[in-house]
Symmetry: C2
DNA sequence: AAATAATATTTGTATGTACAAACAAATTTA
DNA sequence: TAAATTTGTTTGTACATACAAATATTATTT
């Protein structure tokens, strides 16, 4: 039985993208338990952790562009988990009651996401890989 | 000067996605020299390497879904780099003259993409990271 | 041979993300 | 203080990708 590696397995562009798609799928699966996509879930967690946070800071923490953050906030506002307050040229983002009420579940799911991939990769290997990837990302940008 | 890591740097979902976005950006920058996005560029390379290849096999090699591959092929067909031939329930994909003519540039750009990230990460570290990520992706899916 | 299941491909639709441009407000410069 | 620049946010638009459903063809079973 011939085990064939992808022609592109030695290209970081491909490996990184493949892993990203798989992780997004796994993560979305987990967060779908509360009806949110991963990015939306982490956005709500981020705001829960710091009421009045500005989109700019969210975009730094989540490593997404400002426009993407605006779009994510809009949706969570529409769904009643977040609200915005214009404040000069900046905007402050707050959780609603409903948003805060999600926090326990969010943390639980985040933990079970970790358990899930750590059990497949090994805890130590998973942590090491995560750190390596993070450091590479820092060097590349 | 306070150097602060992202709150999420220890989460593989985030690290993987961040790296993926950075690599896609770098790669797209390189391939934009010939006016193609990365996925389209690799699709053309894949077909150049195997005339008559089927979308199914392309989707395996590129680790993309079949529908995504269809969309990529459509665009390259429209631009005159590929052509399709219906063949029973399958489809055969071929390069046109124009598509073949790109091959040298494609390989050059792919090489310079590698040089670019390898020079930032170190050749050995880059290769190791790529392999680690690829193996993790295999274990997770 | 007819019916059923499996497979390959495409289509309709939705989503996350980004870029560039538009705006608005604050800061700096002249 | 007026003008110019910078900064934070949002909007318009585009794109890659995926999922689910629809087709079409081939393979298998009865």
């Amino acid at each position: 039985m011939e085990e064939k590696k992808s022609q592109y397995c030695s290209c970081l562009y491909h490996s990184a993208n493949a892993l990203s798609r798989i992780m997004t799928k796994i993560s979305d699966e987990e967060f779908s338990k509360i009806g949110l996509g991963s990015s939306h879930a982490f956005l709500v967690m981020t705001v829960n952790a710091k009421q009045g946070i500005q989109p700019k800071e969210i975009s730094v923490q989540m490593q997404l562009t400002a426009s993407t953050v605006t779009r994510l906030i809009e949706k969570m506002e529409y769904r009643g988990y977040l609200k915005r307050e214009a404040c000069g040229r900046t905007t402050k983002v707050y959780s609603t009651e409903a948003g805060l009420a999600l926090q326990i579940k969010l943390k639980e799911i985040w933990k079970s996401l970790y358990e899930r991939y750590a059990s497949l990769l090994g805890k130590q290997e998973a942590d090491q890989l995560t750190a390596d990837i993070y450091n590479a990302a820092l060097k590349l940008e």
